[in-house]
């Protein structure tokens, strides 16, 4: 049922018809119930007419009296009559007349617009007029106005309007429209009015207590009497007569209309609910069907609809009010207007519902997009504002925290500054120039105090730097302002602690070295026996080949143990700096050459080709010759032990920044699968298996000894290339 196109189509067709029925029937019901349009008589007796009429009369009177511009004034001796062109109030002309009586002539619908600005002219108009719509007979006016005048009486009481009597008296001056409009003077004998003239205007029975009824509005000017009255016969073309006619036609079908009113209302409701549910659903599809039309910005559709609606409305109502138009043509016009607009309304409504259902309403409309965009913008800016606020709050908090943490100092400072300002102002006020001098003196004194404290800060920083650099610091409290008393104590304590820690670690390092030395002594004694007896066994005539082989192993290992213990002691001493150095000028190139001579055979044995690039002139460095020898000896030892057989060894030197740099490069026999840092550590060798000769201490000893001699030693591994660089200051 939801997807039935037929049902939907029926709904679309029925909807305008039902709405028309509903509107018409409800109008009918309303008019019937109000009773105003049942007949002309009822209409004239209806409250609607009376209020409308009275309002217009009142407008008219008011304007006649007070307004100037478009009101025509008639000068009558000392009096001025104001009136307006009835044609300006054409909407009233259907049922309202001004009756002008002159002599025995009574005129209605006088066309005063025709330049009738003098009584003479009015007189002429009246006299020339044939007296259409006459309702004056035997000096009696039409009695059918009586009821009306009674109503007017009621109405006037209710609405409180001021009336001006012809005997120059003002009665019951209360409100006219609003108090602003008129200066009200209560119960004054004479009334000053517009142009300073007293206006004799329409008579009212209220004014004359002896007269109980308001006949009608009259004005007597000279021979004229003006009445305002109704035209009892409505113009056939007038709207009211149209309405009355229609009502009369419809009356016989009263029952049908009474029924169709609620039924149409219910049907419209049901159909609306159905359509809202069904619109957009297509058989076999879950989602709402959206056509290209539904993607056209909604504003364009609504705009077109409104333009057509307003335009056609204007045309229709202009056309309808065209007086000579045939009733049938009017009906056709109206229906066309209604149908066209209804169809447009349906189309617009359907697309709106579709869009809402497909949740595309905002996206398909320009306003929606703008709304969305501005909403996101809003959100962003709100977020930003909140962030800013948070930042600000954090800032405030940190300030507050700072205040809380340094309460005493801050409070003290605030009090001092406040006190200073107050005292300074007082001094300035009381003593004048002398006060200013005193103020300045105090100010400079304060600055001096601040500078003193800043200096203390500087000193503090300097001493901290000293501690950082490892110096011992003893601060004297007298050099600082009293605020730093605690800081000084702390710094002295830290420095002391630091010093103690250094001493402590030196001591423990020394103890360690001592321990190692002693242990090595204890190892050496049994080792001596081992070596000696192994040697003695070797000298015996051992027949057994296996025994010989084992003895050889024992000999090798005992020799290695000997070397190991010696190196251990040396490494421990070198790393703890527990050696006494005797610095002298050493020729580093000489030393290198001496050692190259020492190692020549060893290198040749392994077919190592040494390519040394040493300067001809010797270069002197400050070092201990024995320990420098140990460094180079260890490096050459390493090369002879670990370099690949039949490879080249490079020894290069260069001088830079008054430093001599010596680089030893060789190709490693084994794969170097460790890092440079690891290699520098004690007991580490290029091969982790530790089967080769050597203790693994050589490089570590060399590094320690180099550093003890104020040089640097670093090594680099690049694949199989092993590179050691040592650097010394040239003496």
């Amino acid at each position: 049922m939801k997807n039935s196109k037929v049902l939907r189509g029926i709904c679309y067709v029925l909807m305008p018809i039902l709405i028309a029925v509903f509107i018409l029937s409800s109008c009918y019901m309303y008019l019937i119930n109000e009773g105003n349009y049942g007949s002309e008589q009822e209409f004239f007796n209806s409250d609607m007419f009376k209020s409308s009429y009275m309002n217009r009369i009142r407008d008219y009177m008011h304007e006649l009296i007070f307004a100037q511009s478009h009101y025509i004034t008639v000068q009558d001796g000392e009096r001025t009559i104001y009136y307006t062109d009835w044609n300006n109030m054409y909407d009233m002309k259907d049922f309202m007349d001004v009756v002008v009586i002159y002599g025995n002539k009574v005129l209605t619908n006088v066309k005063f617009s025709e330049n009738t600005d003098t009584l003479e002219e009015i007189k002429n108009v009246v006299l020339e007029d044939k007296g259409n719509n006459l309702c004056y007979e035997n000096n009696q006016y039409s009695s059918n106005l009586e009821n009306f005048t009674e109503d007017i009486d009621e109405y006037l009481k209710y609405d409180e309007i001021t009336y001006y009597t012809n005997d120059n008296k003002v009665k019951e001056v209360v409100n006219i429209y609003s108090e602003d409009d008129l200066v009200i003077e209560e119960t004054t004998e004479e009334v000053e009015l517009v142009n300073g003239e007293e206006v004799l205007e329409n008579t009212n029975s209220m004014a004359n207590t002896d007269m109980n009824k308001v006949e009608y509005h009259t004005a007597k000017i000279e021979d004229f009497t003006f009445y305002s009255s109704f035209n009892k016969n409505l113009d056939k073309s007038s709207e009211i007569s149209m309405v009355i006619n229609t009502m009369n036609t419809l009356k016989p079908y009263h029952t049908l209309i009474s029924i169709s009113f609620p039924i149409s209302a219910i049907l419209i409701l049901i159909m609306t609910i159905y359509l809202i549910n069904a619109i957009g659903h297509v058989k076999g599809k879950e989602e709402i069907e959206i056509t290209d039309f539904d993607k056209v910005p909604l504003e364009i559709i609504i705009g077109i609809f409104l333009i057509i609606l307003i335009g056609s409305t204007y045309i229709i109502f202009e056309g309808i009010s065209f007086p000579n138009l045939n009733m049938d043509i009017r009906c056709i016009l109206l229906s066309t207007f209604y149908i066209v607009n209804m169809i447009l309304a349906e189309v617009t409504g359907v697309t709106i519902i579709k869009r809402i259902k497909a949740k595309q309403f905002l996206d398909t409309s320009i306003c929606g997009k703008i709304l969305k965009w501005s909403w996101s913008l809003c959100k962003k800016s709100i977020k930003r504002i909140i962030d800013l606020f948070k930042k600000f709050r954090n800032k405030l908090r940190s300030i507050k925290k700072a205040f809380n943490e340094n309460t005493n100092l801050t409070k003290k400072l605030i009090v001092i500054i406040c006190a200073y300002i107050i005292v300074a102002v007082i001094l300035l006020g009381v003593l004048g120039p002398i006060g200013a001098i005193i103020d300045l003196a105090v100010f400079f004194y304060a600055i001096y105090q601040v500078i003193l404290r800043l200096n203390s800060f500087k000193k503090l920083e300097a001493s901290l730097k000293k501690i950082y650099e490892g110096e011992k610091v003893v601060l004297n409290a007298e050099d600082f302002t009293q605020e730093f008393e605690k800081s000084i104590t702390y710094i002295n304590d830290i420095s002391n602690g630091f010093e103690n820690a250094v001493q402590e670690s030196l001591k423990s390092e020394r103890l360690k070295t001592e321990l190692i030395t002693n242990v090595s002594h204890d190892i050496k004694t049994p080792l001596t026996s081992i070596i000696n007896y192994v040697d003695l066994i070797k000298k015996e005539n051992v027949e057994n080949e296996k025994v010989k082989e084992y003895i050889e192993i024992l000999d090798n290992k005992s020799q290695r143990l000997k070397k190991l213990t010696e190196d251990l002691v040396e490494a421990s001493k070198a790393s703890s700096g527990n050696v006494s150095l005797n610095f002298e000028n050493i020729g580093i190139i000489e030393l290198l050459n001496q050692l190259l001579g020492e190692y020549k055979d060893k290198f040749e044995e392994k077919k190592l080709e040494v390519i040394s690039n040493l300067p001809k002139e010797d270069i002197k460095i400050k070092a201990d010759s024995r320990y420098l020898y140990r460094v180079i000896d260890n490096l050459f030892g390493n090369i002879s032990k670990y370099a690949l057989d039949s490879s080249r060894v490079y020894i290069d030197t260069f001088i830079k920044d008054n430093k001599i740099n010596i680089t030893f490069k060789n190709i490693s026999k084994e794969r170097l699968n460790i890092t440079e840092e690891e290699l520098m550590q004690r007991f580490v060798r290029g091969d982790k298996s530790r089967t080769t000769e050597g203790s693994g201490l050589g490089l570590s000893i060399a590094k320690s000894l180099t550093e003890l001699q104020k040089g640097t030693l670093s090594c680099k591994i690049d694949g199989d290339l092993f590179k050691v660089e040592i650097e010394f200051n040239i003496a």
């Binding site: 030395t517 090595s520 002594h521 204890d522 050496k524 004694t525 049994p526 080792l527 001596t528 026996s529 081992i530 070596i531 000696n532 007896y533 040697d535 003695l536 005992s558 000997k562 010696e566 002691v569 050493i586 020729g587 580093i588 000489e590 030393l591 050459n593 001496q594 050692l595 190259l596 001579g597 020492e598 020549k600 055979d601 040394s612 040493l614 010797d618 070092a623 010759s625 024995r626 420098l628 020898y629």
Partner: protein, 232 residues
């Protein structure tokens, strides 16, 4: 037959030394602490004492001091203490030599022989009048015969080695750099001398020294040069 007293608290070491030195035709007296050693010296004619330092009751240093109060016999310290300071103390207190444990038996024997020779036959080598001889301690070069004699034994050197040693011995106590040695020996501008000299020096050292690593005569001053120690 010379009498040698070996004093060490480690009996195995004493025994090992006994074995080595007996083969060299020395008579060995054994002591296991300082007091025993002093007793033996008092009651026997001892030509050399091999003395350990770290011993119970009376250690090597005290014993050495006691010995030196009465005797001039040579004392060879044999200790596991290998620090320079230990060696200096020992030598300063009157020891004639200092060998560290673990020792090379051959070195020990050589040093023992050296000490005995100097104690017993000091100046025994006769030097012919008129011949050009140069001498430092037990190192002697007879330039007329082109002979090098160390501790009474002739050492064979190559002509270059001989010239270098002769030059250094003639100027004993003076340190010469590689270039200086080259210029003086080759009488030529030093060119690419570098390690040629160093290699020769090492060879000389290996031939004339008991322990080439700790030379007694031909000393290496690392980074400066070489010299022949002046020994009276």
């Amino acid at each position: 037959m010379y009498n040698i007293l070996v004093c060490d608290d480690d009996k195995e070491i004493v025994k090992a030394i006994d074995i080595y030195l007996s083969k060299e035709n020395y008579k060995i007296f054994k002591a296991y602490n300082g007091n025993e050693a002093l007793n033996i010296i008092k009651n026997n004619e001892i030509h050399l004492v091999i003395l350990d330092i770290m011993m119970p009751e009376k250690d090597g240093i005290e014993t050495l001091e006691e010995i030196r109060k009465e005797y001039t016999l040579p004392v060879l310290m044999l200790s596991a203490k290998s620090e320079d300071s230990d060696k200096i103390i020992g030598l300063d207190l009157g020891a004639d030599d200092y060998v560290t444990k673990p020792f090379n038996p051959m070195e020990l024997i050589a040093r023992v022989n050296s000490c005995i020779r100097r104690y017993t036959k000091l100046g025994a080598i006769e030097v012919k009048e008129g011949s050009k001889t140069y001498k430092s301690g037990d190192l002697l070069i007879d330039d007329t015969l082109k002979k090098v004699i160390v501790e009474g034994k002739e050492v064979k050197l190559t002509p270059t080695e001989y010239n270098i040693l002769l030059f250094l011995l003639k100027n004993k106590g003076t340190v010469f750099s590689i270039n200086q040695i080259y210029e003086n020996v080759w009488k030529d501008e030093a060119y690419a001398a570098e390690n040629i000299i160093a290699v020769h020096i090492r060879h000389i050292r290996e031939k004339i020294e008991i322990n080439p690593k700790e030379p007694r005569y031909l000393k290496v001053i690392w980074g400066i040069g070489y010299k022949i120690e002046k020994i009276d």
